[in-house]
C-alpha cells in the first residue's frame, strides 16, 4: 500500500516537473546565453554549458554609465507611480467598498479593457504642449493608468471582506470617519495593501509601451533601454541576454519571495466570482 503511494507520488512529481520544464528550460537557456562568449553563442550545435564563463557580459552592463541612469529612472517611475497609487487607491477602495458602489468599479474595469496605446495619443500631445517631454513626469502619470486600477480593485475586494463591527464600535466611541479609517480599517488591511503594492510594482516595472512613446534618451526606463540595445547590438547575444536578465531579475525575485501574496491577489476575485 505505502509503496504504491510512493510510486504514485513519484509519478505525480514527474508530471509536475514536465509542467514546469518550459519555464525552467527557458530561464536556464537565458542564463546560458548571458554567460557565454560570442564564439559559444554563435556555435552550432549550440553550447549549453560553456567551458569559460563570460562574466564580462554582466560587468559590461553594470559598467556602462547609462545603466545606472536607466535603473534610477525605473526606480523613480515605478516607485512614484506605485506610491501615488497607494495614496489615492487605498482610501478609494475603502470608500467604494463601504458605499457598496459597485457601479463605480465599472469605470475601473473599462480602464482595464482599454488598450494602453489609446491613452497615449492625448497624453502625448498634452505633455508636449506642457513642455514636460524631457522629464520623467509623463511616464509617472502614464504609469498611474496601470497602478491606480490595480490598487483600487484589490482594495475594494479586501475591504469588502473585513469585518465592520470594530469600525462601528469606534464610531460609537466618537471617532470620525477618518480616524476609523486610519486607526481601524487601515491596520487590518495591511495584507491587502501588500498584495496591491507587489502587483502594482511588478506591472509598472514591466511596462514597455508607455516608455517607447514617452521616453527620450535621458528618461528611458530599463525595459525600453534593453529593447534599444537590441537595435544596436543585434549580434552580441551575450551582453544582450545579460542585460535582459538583469532587467527582469528584480521581478523574478519578488515573484519567488511573495509567491503566496501574488497568487492570492490574482485569484481572489475569480474564486469569489464562481
Amino acid at each position: 500500500m505505502s509503496i504504491r503511494k510512493i510510486t504514485d507520488s513519484l509519478c505525480l512529481f514527474f508530471v509536475g516537473l514536465v509542467l514546469v520544464s518550459p519555464a525552467v528550460l527557458f530561464f536556464l537557456w537565458m542564463i546560458s546565453l548571458s554567460l557565454k562568449f560570442e564564439v559559444d553563442n554563435a556555435a552550432y550545435p549550440p553550447v549549453f554549458i560553456p567551458e569559460r564563463f563570460a562574466w564580462k557580459n554582466y560587468t559590461g552592463v553594470f559598467e556602462s554609465n547609462r545603466f545606472g541612469l536607466y535603473f534610477i529612472n525605473s526606480l523613480i517611475v515605478t516607485g512614484t507611480a506605485t506610491g501615488l497609487a497607494l495614496l489615492i487607491g487605498v482610501p478609494a477602495g475603502y470608500g467604494i467598498a463601504r458605499m457598496r458602489a459597485t457601479k463605480a468599479a465599472v469605470v475601473v474595469l473599462i480602464a482595464r479593457m482599454t488598450p494602453g496605446l489609446s491613452y497615449l495619443i492625448p497624453l502625448f500631445l498634452l505633455f508636449q504642449w506642457l513642455g514636460l517631454m524631457g522629464t520623467l513626469v509623463p511616464q509617472i502619470i502614464a504609469h498611474l493608468v496601470i497602478t491606480v486600477p490595480i490598487v483600487i480593485w484589490i482594495m475594494i475586494g479586501y475591504f469588502e471582506t473585513t469585518p465592520l463591527e470594530l469600525e462601528e464600535a469606534a464610531v460609537i466611541d466618537g471617532a470620525n470617519r477618518w480616524e476609523v479609517f486610519r486607526h481601524i480599517a487601515l491596520p487590518i488591511a495591511k495584507p491587502g495593501i501588500t498584495v496591491a503594492f507587489i502587483l502594482a510594482v511588478i506591472f509598472s516595472w514591466n511596462n514597455f509601451v508607455f516608455g517607447v512613446v514617452l521616453a527620450g534618451r535621458e528618461t528611458r526606463t530599463l525595459p525600453v533601454a534593453v529593447y534599444n540595445m537590441l537595435s544596436f547590438e543585434q549580434l552580441s547575444w551575450g551582453p544582450l541576454a545579460a542585460a535582459a536578465l538583469i532587467v527582469t531579475l528584480p521581478v523574478l525575485i519578488l515573484t519567488i519571495i511573495a509567491q503566496r501574496q501574488i497568487v492570492a491577489g490574482l485569484t481572489a476575485g475569480a474564486v469569489k466570482g464562481g
Binding site: 512529481f13 475601473v108 489609446s118
Partner: protein, 312 residues
C-alpha cells in the same frame, strides 16, 4: 501591464454582503482624489481621443474638422482591414492554447503533487517576467541558423523552420511566446475553481463506477465552467491588446504579416504622427474590445445560470 484587474472582473456583478445600514455618502471624501486622477488620466484622454478622431490632425501640422471622414477612410484601408483579421487570428489562438494547457496544468496542480508550492511558484514565473526581456531571448531562440529551437527540432528529425522570419509562420510563433507566458494565469484561475468543488459528487460518481473521463466531463467541467469563462474573457482582452511581445520581436513584420490593430495604431500615431487618424483607429479598436468583452460577460452570466444553479 496586463492581468491587473482580472479577479475583480467578477466582483462587479456581485453585491457586497449586506451589513449595517449607515448613510453611505459620508464616504465620499475617500473617493474624491481617485475620481480626480481617474478623470484626468483615463476619462479625459478618452473624450479627447473621440474629439481628435473627428479631425484631420498631424503633430506639428494644422488641425481641420473632418467629421467622420477618418472612419470612412478606415473602411477602405487595406492595411487596417488586414490588421483586424490578423488580430482576430492571433486572439483566437492566444486564447484557446493557454486555456487548454492552463486547464490541464490546474488539474495536475490540484492533485497532491510533491513540492506543489515550489513547482507552482516556478510555473507562475513566465507571466511575471518582464515581457520585453523575455521577447529578446525568444528572438534569439527563433534565429533560423543559430537558434536553439531549430536545433531542438533537428534532434527529433524535423527540418529547420523560419519562425518569425516568414509571413506564414510568424503569427503561430508569436502565439507560442504568448502561450508560454500566459498559460500560468489560466492555471491560477482554474485552480481557484477546482478548489471550490465539493467532494460529494466525486464520491457518488465513484460508487456509480464512473471513469476518469466521465468524472471530468460530467462533474469537473460543468463546475469550473464559470472560471473557464473568466479566463477566456481576461485572455481575450489581453490578447487583443498584446503589444510588447509583437513589437519587440517583429515590429509587425515581416512586412505587415504580424501587424495587429494595436501595432498599426502605434505606427499611425507615433511613427507617422497622424494623430487624427490614429485616434479613429483607437476608437474602433476600443469598440471592438468592449463589444467582445460584453458578449463574453453575457455568455458568462448564462453559464453561471445553467451550471452553477444546479451544482451549488
Amino acid at each position: 501591464m496586463s492581468t491587473i484587474a482580472e479577479p475583480q472582473l467578477t466582483s462587479v456583478t456581485e453585491a457586497a454582503p449586506a451589513t449595517g445600514a449607515r448613510p453611505p455618502s459620508t464616504y465620499w471624501p475617500f473617493v474624491v482624489p481617485a475620481v480626480a486622477v481617474v478623470g484626468s488620466v483615463i476619462v479625459f484622454p478618452w473624450a479627447f481621443t473621440v474629439w481628435m478622431s473627428l479631425h484631420e490632425w498631424t503633430v506639428g501640422g494644422a488641425r481641420r474638422f473632418a467629421g467622420l471622414s477618418n472612419y470612412l477612410r478606415l473602411a477602405t484601408d487595406e492595411r487596417f482591414l488586414t490588421s483586424v483579421w490578423q488580430t482576430l487570428i492571433y486572439t483566437v489562438l492566444a486564447v484557446v492554447l493557454p486555456l487548454i494547457f492552463g486547464t490541464l496544468a490546474a488539474l495536475i496542480f490540484n492533485s497532491k503533487v510533491p513540492l506543489r508550492g515550489i513547482l507552482r511558484g516556478i510555473f507562475v514565473m513566465p507571466m511575471m517576467a518582464t515581457p520585453v526581456a523575455i521577447a529578446l531571448v525568444w528572438t534569439m531562440m527563433f534565429h533560423p541558423q543559430l537558434g536553439v529551437l531549430n536545433y531542438l527540432l533537428s534532434l527529433v528529425g524535423i527540418g529547420p523552420q523560419a519562425w518569425v522570419f516568414s509571413p506564414s509562420t510568424v503569427i503561430p510563433s508569436l502565439v507560442l511566446v504568448e502561450t508560454w507566458q500566459w498559460t500560468p494565469l489560466v492555471m491560477l484561475i482554474v485552480l481557484g475553481g477546482l478548489a471550490a468543488i465539493p467532494t460529494e459528487p466525486y464520491e457518488s460518481a465513484a460508487i456509480d463506477g464512473a471513469t476518469v473521463f466521465q468524472r471530468f466531463r460530467y462533474i469537473t467541467l460543468p463546475m469550473i465552467a464559470p472560471f473557464l469563462m473568466v479566463a477566456v474573457i481576461i485572455r481575450t482582452i489581453d490578447a487583443l491588446k498584446s503589444f510588447d511581445i509583437i513589437y519587440a520581436i517583429t515590429q509587425g513584420g515581416p512586412g505587415t504579416a504580424s501587424e495587429t490593430i494595436n501595432l498599426y495604431l502605434y505606427s499611425v500615431a507615433f511613427a507617422y504622427y497622424d494623430v487624427g487618424y490614429g485616434s479613429a483607429i483607437a476608437v474602433v479598436f476600443f469598440g471592438l474590445v468592449i463589444a467582445l468583452s460584453l458578449l463574453m460577460l453575457h455568455l458568462r452570466q448564462r453559464t453561471k445560470w445553467t451550471d452553477i444553479q444546479g451544482g451549488a
